[in-house]
Symmetry: C2
Subunit: 409 residues, 2 copies
């Protein structure tokens, strides 16, 4: 096991219970031994679910299954294994999904089509689903409303720490809570941010509205985060709303009563996305890129991701080298409108280059000092419009090579 | 200096003289000491030039200048320095270009607008052009028709070996020759393949025809090669045709008489592109990706580049790990039409996966053996059309991180 990321928080946060949700983790021994590798949640009757799935054209069987369940939009259980992604496993892939959903449906007493599944791990190895079905009944009996930590641990692969976040708000004066957890460390890129994330809320929200809110929040959070630009075949974000809070259900995603909820949902997803970047394979530094002055928000995000995905920018930061020329390069290759002579680049809040050249009396001392820290800040202003975006990533180090040059063995 | 790439050829090839071209290299001390860092070529009157320049929106002043000269399409000299890219240097950038072109024009006795320039190296540091103008007269006196090796050395930066190639053919029965050299090691990606390359031929070809032939050949060679997906601000490919061979000038790029020339030009560019990939920063293995059965040639190239740019595929190969699941992932994220269940993946000629799953009786032994070698072959058939492309890259190793984490110091 790789050492815990130096960017990890001190401990897993205390997450509040969500009325209508019981969850936990168990060891099914799919690939890993001596650690939980199976996560299950039971959702109260009436729970609606929304999600965002990978846009990969070689997506896994579990993702195909989730797409079907999400069309209906309600679910009673989620079952997830780590260690094997059940991707590119031919017909056996969907057969393994059936074994998983049947086991969960039997335990919970619901229809198989009310079970969501996800699998993460190595691609192209047939999933021994019988180990999962065997472990499910006992796991189901152990579910409880405060099972967060064990659940979050059960979905990890190359992650070095479990990732959780929560927020609360009100809808029409009724307090509601959102809590969730995520996994992801390598093969992380937008479209959508390659990982698994499961969020739960007691808010009463119609499925169509929840789906819209989820899509928007994913766009502002997970889709603004990258580790290596690689998109996995298994990316899945699921949001389950039990309705137990008893608020008046809003009819539209744009409903004013949802202002707090929209912010809270985006906040929880952002917290999780940041944690994923902080656990990027081999990460030693967390990088926040703010792009302003772009032609549009979308253009700003593309420029930000071009910087955040550049191996040259990421290795320079790993080497604590204020090589801002590479940031200029990454802006230039993004394919979005840019004007060399209006571009401003800052690191650690210090303007290094502006108006098409380096600042004349630039003193590298404070920037060098900034780069020695764990949190690196890059600001780019394109000077041509009002579009802006914030993107998160980590540096590219020897650790990434160590982890990925020999993942399967 | 980094150790010579294990993928390098034994020696620099013997390149034939090109009638109408004299060339050489000298030490101007721009950044490097004790090695040639200035390349110059003098071209006979009447030489036409074509080129391909970076599409970066933050391109350098020398690239801006070349774009102007290429519009006219004739040139008498090329002057290139290594160690400083004269990119993102504000107004001083074009002033430095003027110093360079004036020096070359005076030495050769031509107009400044007949001089092409290129600069490669660090971004954002003002170019001490006076060192170049001071070194130019003596360099000009030393030019000779067999100055290839020194010229090729003078343009290197993080390269570990000089790269040259040549080919000959006939146009309407008249023998013509093409010879050239290139540099490039990191910040290498298509659009266009990030590097400098200079090709010379004695063929008589009208400028408009030469430009079309150049664009097509670049597309099939340099634009099919990647090291790290990063596009530089300085990419420049120039082709100069002196016309000294005395062949009848063809009127169209599609002229049948140009068949051999088209092939020879593409061959020389391909040889140089392959050498650049073999000198990829930290490269230990050379990777050839063949994509077939795609919806179009363009789609095939995008899929090939998605594989060739994937850090996970490249680190797996560095680790000699036959992790074909990552190839499936890279196909899925390319954004081109693909069908998981028609996809075939082979490594080293051994089919590993087909019809949406791993081959049942797959024996990894020959593939593992193949991956221990220096030349790695990946074949992907999408099974949906007739589009095909070949793409070249190298593996991603600790060497890349070592070189790039501390480039400037």
């Amino acid at each position: 096991m790789t050492a815990r990321s130096p960017l990890a928080p001190k401990s897993f946060p205390k997450l509040p219970p969500i009325d209508g949700v019981r969850l936990g983790g168990a060891s099914a021994g799919v690939k890993y031994k001596g650690r939980p590798d199976l996560f299950m949640a039971e959702l109260a009757p009436g729970t609606v679910v929304a999600g965002a799935l990978t846009r990969s054209l070689t997506r896994s069987a579990p993702v195909d299954w989730c797409a079907q369940v999400l069309k209906k939009g309600s679910a009673r259980a989620i079952l997830v294994n780590a260690g094997n992604s059940n991707a590119f496993t031919g017909k056996a892939g969907m057969e393994a999904v059936r074994v998983m959903v049947d086991a969960a449906a039997e335990a919970v007493g619901c229809k198989p089509k009310e079970v969501l599944v996800a699998s993460t791990g190595v691609i192209g190895v047939k999933l021994p689903a019988d180990r999962i079905s065997k472990a499910t009944p006992k796991l189901h009996k152990s579910l409880k409303s405060d099972g967060w930590s064990r659940a979050a641990q059960a979905i990890l692969t190359t992650d070095t720490f479990p990732k959780g976040a929560s927020a609360s708000c009100t809808i029409d004066g009724v307090p509601v809570t959102i809590a969730g957890f995520a996994k992801g460390s390598g093969m992380i890129a937008p479209d959508m941010a390659t990982m698994l994330a499961f969020l739960f809320t007691d808010a009463a929200i119609p499925q169509a509205v929840l789906q819209k809110l989820t899509t928007k929040a994913v766009d502002k959070s997970f889709n603004c985060m990258t580790v290596d630009g690689d998109t996995s075949t298994s990316d899945t974000v699921l949001v389950a709303a039990t309705g137990a809070a008893g608020n008046k259900a809003p009819k539209k995603a744009s409903d004013k009563a949802l202002k707090g909820f929209r912010e809270a949902l985006t906040q929880v997803m952002t917290d999780l996305a940041v944690l994923v970047a902080k656990d990027g394979e081999g990460a030693q530094k967390f990088i926040t890129v703010d792009v302003t002055g772009a032609a549009s928000d979308k253009a700003a995000r593309r420029v930000g991701l071009s910087i955040a995905n550049s191996p040259l920018v990421k290795t320079a930061i790993a080497g604590e080298d204020a090589n801002w020329g590479r940031i200029v390069m990454a802006v230039g290759k993004a394919g979005e409108r840019a004007d060399r002579d209006r571009l401003t680049v800052a690191m650690g809040g210090v303007v290094i280059a502006e108006k098409g050249e380096g600042v004349a009396d630039y003193d590298e001392t404070p920037v060098a000092e900034h780069l020695k820290g764990r949190d690196v800040k890059i600001d780019v202003d394109l000077g041509i419009g009002r579009g802006k975006a914030r993107v998160w990533t980590c540096d590219l180090t020897h650790g990434y090579i160590d982890i990925n040059a020999d993942y399967r063995t």
